[in-house]
Structure formats: structure tokens, C-alpha cells
């Protein structure tokens, strides 16, 4: 109701009540109406489109699922009476499944691979739980249960390794070694020097003591492990359980897993890396690439934005060089050319060379992704951090990188997924990853004509992993969202 008052103002006195929306705007009917049925020609298109999709999907499902042969003996199980193959023959995948998973890794030793992945899962699980699940009695209980389970499944040595990975974070939480050392901000050089010296000492001690007790072959890995362990002890002061878990997973687990896979000591048979293959190899290459590319990429992204000309030039050169060449070239160079430049008798493992190549290659991509994030952070964030007296590394670690990395999660995951699939290229240097071993199996005279099944299976496995990575990244994005659209 509007009134015109004596002085000419137009005034409204009552509030208009809220009315229910018309039927076509809400609910199931509203959705159907707007998206499929209105106006009439959209209803026609809906019918035609629906029919085409139904026929296509039905044909695929019929070949892959409904008409497919799931069990039987040999190729014959899938053939019709006149010898034709009409539907998918999963008998092939079933028969070769373990080879697809492990490559030529000897059957008796495959438990090592199983155990190492189980260990990874067990040790990493607390990282994904809420804090009160990880520390205290619950955390210790989980660690105990895991150790017992591994003991039953794999015996005493694996149980010991599991116990270390699971219990250590709880004990190491009380580590205060770092507090006894000179603080790095009192006298930067002395503090840094003491820490570096301790690390090297720890490494050397681990090398000789470990080598003397267990054997020469393991000495180098043990040395590295104890070097990193000393690093953790002096650097992680008052770290939480989760921080220690992350530390052990990043710095200790890879060495332990590598020792386990190669063997040659501890009563384990030596298995050369040329025998590794299948999904196992794919995960090793992709896992190494993913784990290494992010930190290396961050360093080069920071380097590229540095004020120091030398650092900046080196970073730009690294990024442009690695990004400018195809991955196939990198792999070829590492496997064929590099040995030519090395002196006689010096020999790196071929897989190791490929791993380094893949890691550096993807690090260059990652550096550019991260740089995009760094550039999106407003200058005010840097200024606020500086004005509070934070140093460069504190500012980057606490303020800039958490925000920048969050912004570029889609880009990072994109690179991860790309890398995961690019690992199939190791085929050209004679390593049999999942795709490689499936391809090899399809050329087996006993199983001719199974290429489609092989590729569909491979595609499915890759899709499962990539989709998993993608969903997890979306979850992380949601979790890190703090509603800061405003500045």
C-alpha cells in the first residue's frame, strides 16, 4: 500500500509477504521442464539424444559386461563354435593378472611389494584422520594393531619395520634435540653449521655402523636414512605426530621400500630393477615423480621469482631446458646417452636414471604451475609478513606458499595426472610398466586378438587412479576453503 503524504513523499507502510514460487521453478518438475522439455523442440531433442545414448551405452555394456566371458580356461573359452570372438574375453586378463601387477618380479618375492604398499597405507592413514585419532591411546592402539597384523601376515622383520614407522612418530614427538642447539637466528652461520655437521656425522655413523652390522650392500641406503633421521631430529623441534609421520614417509619410507624391493641382504634375494614391471613399476615411477616434483618445483618457482640474478638465471635455465624437450628425449638421453658420458665402470641403474629424468621433467612443469600461484598472491600479504619481522623462508612457508599452493591445486593435480599417464613412456627404454606388459601379453600367440581387452583393462586401471587423485584433490580444496573471497 503506498500513500502520498501531505508533503509529497511516497511512502509504503506494509511489508509484502513472501509468496510460494510458480510450479515450473522448483522441484523435479521444474528441473525437467527447464532442462529437457521446454519448448517443444527441446522435448524432441531429448528423445532423440536419449535414444542415441541408450543404444551406444547398451552396445558398450553388452561387449564389456553382459556378454563378456568372465571365467574359463584359455582363449577357447571365449570363442563361439565357429571360432569367432564376439564379446570381451576377461579370461585373458584373469590369466595374466599377476604379471600385469608385478611384471617379471619373481613370484616368491612378490610379498615384498605387497608388504611395502600395505606399510605405506598403514603409515599414511593417520595423516588423513582427525588429530584426536592420531595421538594418544587411539594412535598407539592403531600402531599396535597394525604391527600385530603385519606380524601374522609377513613375519617378524616386516613387523619390526611396521612398528618403527607406526610407533616412532609418537615417541619422536618428545624430541627436543633442536632446542639444545644454537638458534639459527642468534647466529645464522653457527646454527646452520652445527646442524649440517650433525647431519653429516649422523649419515657417516649410520653408514659404517649399519654397514658393519647388516652388510656392505645396505650401507649406503642406511647412511642416507640416518642422515635424514638426524636432519629430522635437529630440525623438527616440538613437531606434532602428523609432522613426524609425514617426515618418515618422505625421508625414510622410500629408502626402506627400495631396500625391500631390491633385496640383496637381510636374507632377501637380489632382484634387479629390470625385472620390476606392471602396475608396480607404474606406481614406483609415478609415485617418485609426484613426490619429488612438488618440492623441487616449489624451489625453482621461488628461484625464478628471486631478486638474486644468479638464482633467477639458473632457475629459468632449468625450467626452460626441461620443459622445452619431450619426455621421450629425456628418457632416451638418460638410458642411452648418459652412460656414454660416464667414465668406464660407473654405472647407474637404468630405472634410477629414468626416475630422475621423470622427476626433473615434471618438476619443471610444477615450477611454472606454482609460479602462477605465487603471482596471484596480493603484494599486501608479502608486506604484512615482512612488516611483522618474518624472514624470507618463514614468510614463504607460513604465509605465501599455503595460499599459493591452495590456489593452484587444480593445476598441480593436472600435472600429477599428466605425469601418472606419461609414465607409460618408460616402455621405450625397455621398462615394462602396466601398459608395456599388457601390450607384450597381447602379442603372445596363445592370446592373439586380445588387444581390445588389454587396452580396456589398462585404461580402466589408469582411470581408477586418475579419478581417485582428482576426487581427493577436490576434497582437499573444499577442506582448505576458508571463505576468503574478500581480502
Amino acid at each position: 500500500m503506498s500513500d502520498t503524504t501531505s508533503n509529497g513523499a511516497i511512502v509504503k507502510h506494509e511489508r509484502h509477504e513472501d509468496l510460494p514460487p510458480p510450479k515450473s521453478e522448483v522441484g523435479m518438475y521444474g528441473w525437467l521442464y527447464h532442462n529437457l522439455l521446454h519448448p517443444w523442440y527441446n522435448a524432441v531433442l531429448t528423445l532423440i539424444g536419449g535414444a542415441i545414448s541408450f543404444l551406444a551405452i547398451w552396445a558398450v555394456l553388452d561387449f564389456v559386461v553382459f556378454g563378456a566371458v568372465w571365467s574359463g580356461e584359455g582363449r577357447e573359452a571365449c570363442q563361439t563354435e565357429d571360432g569367432a570372438l564376439i564379446h570381451a574375453c576377461w579370461v585373458f586378463v584373469d590369466a595374466r593378472f599377476s604379471q600385469f601387477m608385478y611384471g617379471f618380479y619373481p613370484e616368491v618375492a612378490r610379498w615384498r611389494v605387497d608388504f611395502s604398499f600395505l606399510l605405506l597405507v598403514l603409515a599414511a592413514v593417520p595423516l588423513f584422520l582427525k588429530d584426536h585419532w592420531t595421538s594418544g591411546k587411539v594412535g598407539l592402539g592403531v600402531a599396535g594393531a597394525a604391527t600385530v597384523a603385519v606380524f601374522v601376515l609377513y613375519g617378524p622383520w616386516p613387523a619390526l619395520i611396521t612398528a618403527f614407522m607406526m610407533f616412532a612418530p609418537h615417541g619422536l614427538r618428545f624430541n627436543r634435540l633442536g632446542a639444545l642447539l644454537p638458534r639459527s637466528d642468534d647466529n645464522a652461520l653457527v646454527g646452520f653449521g652445527v646442524r649440517a655437521a650433525l647431519m653429516v656425522l649422523g649419515g657417516i655413523a649410520g653408514y659404517y655402523i649399519g654397514g658393519a652390522i647388516i652388510g656392505k650392500n645396505e650401507a649406503l641406503s642406511l647412511g642416507w636414512m640416518s642422515l635424514f633421521m638426524t636432519f629430522g631430529l635437529v630440525a623438527l623441534n616440538r613437531a606434532t605426530v602428523k609432522a613426524w609421520i609425514a617426515f618418515l614417509l618422505i625421508f625414510i619410507y622410500p629408502f626402506a621400500a627400495f631396500l625391500l624391493w631390491v633385496g640383496d641382504g637381510y636374507g632377501l634375494e637380489y632382484i634387479e630393477t629390470a625385472k620390476w614391471g606392471g602396475l608396480f613399476l607404474t606406481l614406483v615411477v609415478a609415485g617418485t615423480g609426484i613426490a619429488a616434483s612438488l618440492p623441487i618445483g616449489i624451489v625453482f618457482a621461488l628461484g625464478r621469482r628471486s631478486n638474486m640474478p644468479a638464482v633467477r638465471t639458473v632457475s629459468i635455465a632449468f625450467i626452460e631446458l626441461w620443459r622445452g624437450v619431450p619426455l621421450i628425449t629425456v628418457l632416451f638421453m638418460s638410458s642411452v646417452m648418459l652412460p656414454l658420458f660416464l667414465p668406464e665402470g660407473v654405472n647407474f641403474d637404468k630405472l634410477l636414471r629414468a626416475l630422475i629424468g621423470v622427476a626433473l621433467f615434471s618438476a619443471a612443469y610444477m615450477a611454472e604451475v606454482v609460479r602462477g600461484g605465487l603471482q596471484a598472491i596480493p603484494k599486501g600479504q608479502y608486506e604484512a609478513a615482512e612488516a611483522m619481522g618474518l624472514g624470507y623462508w618463514q614468510m614463504m612457508r607460513l604465509i605465501i606458499l599455503p595460499q599459493a599452493l591452495k590456489l593452484v591445486i587444480p593445476g598441480i593435480v593436472n600435472t600429477f595426472i599428466g605425469l601418472f599417464k606419461d609414465t607409460t613412456l618408460v616402455l621405450i627404454i625397455g621398462l615394462f610398466d602396466l601398459l608395456g606388459i599388457v601390450q607384450a601379453a597381447t602379442t603372445d600367440p596363445k592370446w592373439l586378438g586380445m588387444a581390445v581387452e588389454g587396452y580396456v583393462f589398462t585404461a580402466f586401471v589408469f582411470w581408477i587412479f586418475c579419478f581417485g587423485i582428482s576426487r581427493y584433490s577436490m576434497h582437499i580444496e573444499r577442506k582448505l576453503h576458508t571463505g576468503h573471497k574478500r581480502r
Binding site: A384, Q394, L398
Partner: protein, 258 residues
């Protein structure tokens, strides 16, 4: 208002210098931004800097904590000279708090974490003590109930008050304010100014770049007018507003005091 201003003007100003700037020049490339700046700020003194945009007022106070580098002259803050020595810069920054026009809170941290970050990492304060201190300052700026929210969930005025509390958590001896109310809606300016007045009355050494002339009259001991990179005029607020000496000051005041 005039009574309170008389009262606050008498508030103790020590005869010790907190900041001494002498013969300071700064260039951006060819552009001479700051020309022969000489300014001594006593401990406990509250100074308001005003002037048209582009006059170098922000740049000047940003030189005081070395967010900007000066090329000639000396700046001595709390007895420490600002040179390219990183250690001395860090020492100065620990003692000098700064509040920005756009707040610059850290959006990925809660209000409480924003406040405790620097005390924990720069002052190496135990987390518990830092949190206690932070709550005390959040109470002082009247938003303790927002401690666990993220900055993006607060209004502009609340964010700026958090920014002030965040600076205070470092226990600074000097506070710099760079147009703290310019990005705020009119109804939020008051709540921020109240906090600043309260802070001024507690005897904090402050330099505020602001156009809030009411604030200047109420708490400042001195108003400084800058134009084209120079300090044109400085005086006590009453004199400055009622009896400006230079033509440029008169012109500026006529434009902002309608």
C-alpha cells in the same frame, strides 16, 4: 571534544627520540618521490600525516620499517639505523607495528592464528602464552568472540581491528597506520577510530597517515602536511587547522574541510 584534545595533548611525551629521519631522499627510477625529509618523532608522540594523494606520505612511513628503501639520508628507529643489514631491518620490524589500508590479514589463518603467528615464529613465544596475549588484545579491540573465525567472514571494520590487534601482539614500541580507514564503509570507520584513540591514550608512539581530521584534532600532538614529496608544514592540530601558513596547506584544507 576540545576538552579531551587538551587533555590528551598534555599526555606525557618523552624527550627521547623514537624515530629520527634526516636528509632522506627516495627515488622510483627517475622519479624523485621523497625530497629531503627531516622528521624527529619523540617517544609517546602521536603524529598525523596528511596531504594529497601521490604526495609521498605512505612511502615515507613505509620507509620507517623498510618496506621501501631510501637512497640518501639516514633513518634511525629506536636507536637502530636502517641500512641494508638484514639483521637490523628485522630488529626494527619487531619493534614497529604496521596497519595497512587493505588490512592484509592472512586469509588462510583464523583471527587468533593471525595474531599469534609473529609472536610464535619471530619472538619464539610458547603457543599458549601467545594465544593468551592475543586474546587480551582481541578483547581490547572488542572482538574476542571472533577469534576462531577466518578473516573472510568478518566485516571490514572488524578486519581492521583484528589487524590492529595483530600488530599489538608483537608488543611494538611504535605503530604506523597507513590510511587505516580509507577502505572502510562510513559506518565502520568509527569503530576503528575508537580503537585507535584508545591506543593513543595509552601512550603508544604513533604515526598515522589519515584524512580523519576529527581524529587528528582529538589525539595528535602534531599534524604534518606533505605535498609532492616534501614536508610543507607541521604544527599542533589546533594551529594547523585554524591557522595554516602555506598556500598549499590552505588549498588542501579548503578541499577536505568543506
Amino acid at each position: 571534544m576540545s576538552e579531551t584534545s587538551a587533555e590528551t595533548a598534555k599526555m606525557q611525551v618523552s624527550d627521547e627520540a623514537a624515530i629520527e629521519i634526516s636528509g632522506m631522499h627516495k627515488w622510483y627510477g627517475d622519479f624523485h618521490v621523497l625530497k629531503d625529509i627531516n622528521l624527529t618523532v619523540m617517544k609517546g608522540e602521536r603524529i598525523v600525516v596528511c596531504g594529497p594523494s601521490g604526495s609521498g606520505k605512505s612511502t615515507m612511513i613505509r620507509c620507517i620499517n623498510r618496506l621501501e628503501e631510501h637512497q640518501r639520508g639516514t633513518i634511525i628507529v629506536d636507536g637502530i639505523e636502517l641500512t641494508s643489514d638484514l639483521k637490523q631491518i628485522d630488529q626494527v620490524r619487531r619493534e614497529v607495528g604496521m596497519v595497512f589500508q587493505h588490512f592484509n590479514l592472512f586469509p588462510h589463518l583464523t583471527v587468533l592464528e593471525n595474531c599469534t603467528l609473529a609472536p610464535i615464529w619471530v619472538r619464539k613465544m610458547p603457543k599458549k602464552d601467545a594465544e593468551e596475549a592475543a586474546m587480551k588484545y582481541l578483547e581490547r579491540v572488542k572482538i574476542p568472540e571472533q577469534a576462531l573465525k577466518y578473516p573472510g567472514q568478518l566485516s571490514g571494520g572488524q578486519q581492521q581491528r583484528v589487524a590492529i590487534a595483530r600488530s599489538l601482539c608483537m608488543n611494538p614500541r611504535i605503530m604506523l597506520f597507513d590510511e587505516p580507514t580509507s577502505a572502510l564503509d562510513p559506518e565502520m570507520i568509527k569503530e576503528v577510530l575508537e580503537v585507535m584513540v584508545d591506543l593513543a591514550k595509552s601512550g603508544m608512539t604513533m604515526i598515522c597517515v589519515t584524512h580523519e581530521m576529527g581524529f587528528a584534532r582529538e589525539v595528535a600532538n602534531r599534524v604534518i602536511f606533505m605535498d609532492e614529496g616534501e614536508i610543507i608544514e607541521q604544527n599542533e592540530p589546533e594551529e594547523f587547522f585554524n591557522n595554516p601558513q602555506s598556500d598549499r596547506t590552505k588549498l588542501f584544507l579548503s578541499q577536505i574541510l568543506h
